[in-house]
C-alpha cells in the first residue's frame, strides 16, 4: 500500500480475504459467541471504512482492523453482559472440576478454545488480550475502565485455571 492515501475498497477486500478468519477467531475467543463475534467484525469493518482517512500507513490495514474488531468485541460483551467487567471479587473462584467436568474430561479437546470456556469473562478477556493479542496490561486496564492491579489479578486467575485445566487434560 502506498503512503499518503486512504486504503481503497479493493484493499479492504484483500484484507478481508486474507485475515477475516483471524479477526473472527480473536472476537470469538473474547465473546465466546459466534453471532457476537460476527457482529464485532461487521462493526469493525464499517468503522474502519468510515474512518479510513485516519489510517496510518506505517501500520498494516489488517492489523488496524484487527484491533478495531477486538475493541468492538469488548464493547459488545459490555453491552450484552454488563456484569462481566464489574470490579472483581478477589476471592479465587472455585476452579475445581465439577463431577460432570471430570466425568467428561476425556472427551474434551485439548485446545485453547475449550480451556477458555472455564474462565470467567474478565479472566478470559484479560488472558486473550495479554497472551494472544499482546496488549500491554495498562492498555487492557484502560480498555476495561479498570486498573492494572485488577487486570493482573484476573490474568493470574486465568493463567492458574488454564494451567490446571491443561494438566488435568494431559493427565487423563
Amino acid at each position: 500500500m502506498q503512503g499518503g492515501r486512504e486504503p481503497t475498497q479493493a484493499e479492504f477486500h484483500d484484507a478481508i480475504t486474507s485475515r477475516a478468519d483471524r479477526w473472527f477467531s480473536a472476537c470469538l475467543k473474547i465473546t465466546r459467541n459466534r453471532a457476537m463475534a460476527e457482529d464485532a467484525v461487521q462493526e469493525a469493518l464499517l468503522s474502519a471504512w468510515a474512518k479510513r482517512s485516519q489510517f496510518h500507513h506505517d501500520s498494516r490495514l489488517d492489523t488496524w482492523i484487527h484491533r478495531i474488531a477486538v475493541n468492538a468485541a469488548l464493547q459488545l460483551i459490555r453491552k450484552n453482559r454488563p456484569a462481566s467487567f464489574e470490579p472483581l471479587d478477589f476471592e479465587i473462584a472455585d476452579d475445581t472440576d465439577s463431577q460432570e467436568d471430570t466425568h467428561h474430561a476425556g472427551d474434551l479437546e485439548r485446545d485453547l478454545a475449550k480451556a477458555l470456556t472455564h474462565l470467567s469473562d474478565i479472566e478470559r478477556v484479560c488472558f486473550v488480550l495479554k497472551h494472544l493479542e499482546q496488549w500491554r496490561l495498562k492498555e487492557i486496564a484502560e480498555e476495561l475502565d479498570s486498573n492494572v492491579g485488577t487486570v493482573k489479578q484476573a490474568l493470574f486467575r486465568g493463567v492458574r485455571k488454564l494451567r490446571k485445566r491443561m494438566t488435568t487434560l494431559q493427565g487423563v
Binding site: 477467531s25 469493518l45 471504512w49 468510515a50 494472544l132 500491554r136 492458574r160 494451567r163 491443561m166 494438566t167
Partner: protein
C-alpha cells in the same frame, strides 16, 4: 517467589526494571525456581498457537458485502457536482412556476369547488370520481403529510449530503403516495403531490442560495399543512368517503 511474578516476567510486562532484575538473578541462583519457570513457560507456550477458526463462505461474503454496501452508500450520499449554471437558471424558473402552480392548485382544491373555480383547470384536472376514498388511505396520507412537514421543517440546511439523502427519501415517499392517491380515487391529490417534486429537487440542489432554500422550505411546510388541515377536517367531518368530490 510465586508463579504470579513469574507470569509477569514471562510476559515482560507489569514489573519494574528492578523487579525484573530481581527475578533474573533469582532464576540464575535457584535451580528449583528455574525449573518452575521452565514449566510455566512451556505451559503458557502451548497456547501460542491458538487455532484460527476458518470462517464459513457465507460469512466471508457478508464481510465483503459490508464494505461494498458502505462504499455504495457513501457514493450515493456524496453531493452531486454542481451542474452548469444555465441549467439551474432554467430549473429555478421551472421551480418557481411549479410552486405557483402548486399554490394555486392547493387553493383550488382547498376551496372545494374545482369545477366552477375557473373557466379552465389549472393543475387540478377535472376527473369523474364516483368511488369512495378509503379511510385507511386518508389516515396514511395524513401521517405522511404530518411526517413530511416535520422532516422539511427540520431539514439540515447546513449539511448538503444529509439534506440530499433526506430529500431523495421524501421524493420516493411522495411518488408512492402519489400512486396511492391515484389508486384511491384521489387524482387531484395526486396532482398536488406531483407538484411537490420539482420543488423538492430544487431544495436538494447544492447551489441554492440559503434565503431561497429557506423560502422554498417554508412554502412546502405551509402547503403540506394546508393539505393536512383539509384532510383532517374531512375525516373528522365524516366526509372521508368523498374527499375529492366537490
Amino acid at each position: 517467589m510465586n508463579d504470579d511474578k513469574l507470569t509477569l516476567y514471562y510476559y515482560k510486562d507489569g514489573l519494574t526494571q528492578g523487579e525484573r532484575l530481581e527475578v533474573t538473578n533469582a532464576l540464575v541462583a535457584d535451580a528449583e525456581l528455574a525449573a518452575r519457570y521452565k514449566t510455566l513457560s512451556n505451559e503458557l507456550s502451548q497456547f501460542e498457537g491458538a487455532e484460527i477458526e476458518a470462517i464459513p463462505r457465507d460469512m466471508m461474503l457478508r464481510f465483503h458485502d459490508t464494505i461494498d454496501r458502505a462504499a455504495n452508500m457513501e457514493r450515493g450520499a456524496a453531493p452531486q457536482k454542481s451542474p452548469p449554471v444555465h441549467f439551474w437558471s432554467f430549473f429555478w424558473g421551472a421551480a418557481i412556476t411549479a410552486t405557483l402552480a402548486l399554490g394555486i392548485g392547493i387553493g383550488v382544491w382547498f376551496s372545494g369547488d374545482v369545477d366552477q373555480a375557473a373557466g379552465e383547470p389549472l393543475i387540478v384536472d377535472i376527473t369523474p370520481q364516483s368511488d369512495v376514498v378509503p379511510v385507511v388511505f386518508q389516515r396514511s396520507m395524513q401521517n405522511y403529510l404530518r411526517e413530511s412537514q416535520r422532516e422539511i421543517t427540520e431539514l439540515p440546511m447546513d449539511a448538503e449530503a444529509d439534506r440530499l439523502i433526506l430529500i431523495l427519501r421524501l421524493i420516493d415517499q411522495n411518488r408512492l403516495f402519489e400512486k396511492a392517491a391515484v389508486q384511491n380515487n384521489s387524482p387531484k391529490l395526486a396532482r398536488v403531490l406531483r407538484a411537490f417534486e420539482p420543488i423538492l429537487v430544487q431544495l436538494a440542489s447544492d447551489d441554492i442560495a440559503p434565503e431561497d432554500a429557506e423560502a422554498l422550505r417554508a412554502q412546502l411546510a405551509f402547503e403540506l399543512n394546508v393539505m393536512l388541515t383539509k384532510l383532517t377536517r374531512d375525516t373528522s367531518d365524516g366526509r372521508q368517503t368523498n374527499t375529492e368530490r366537490t
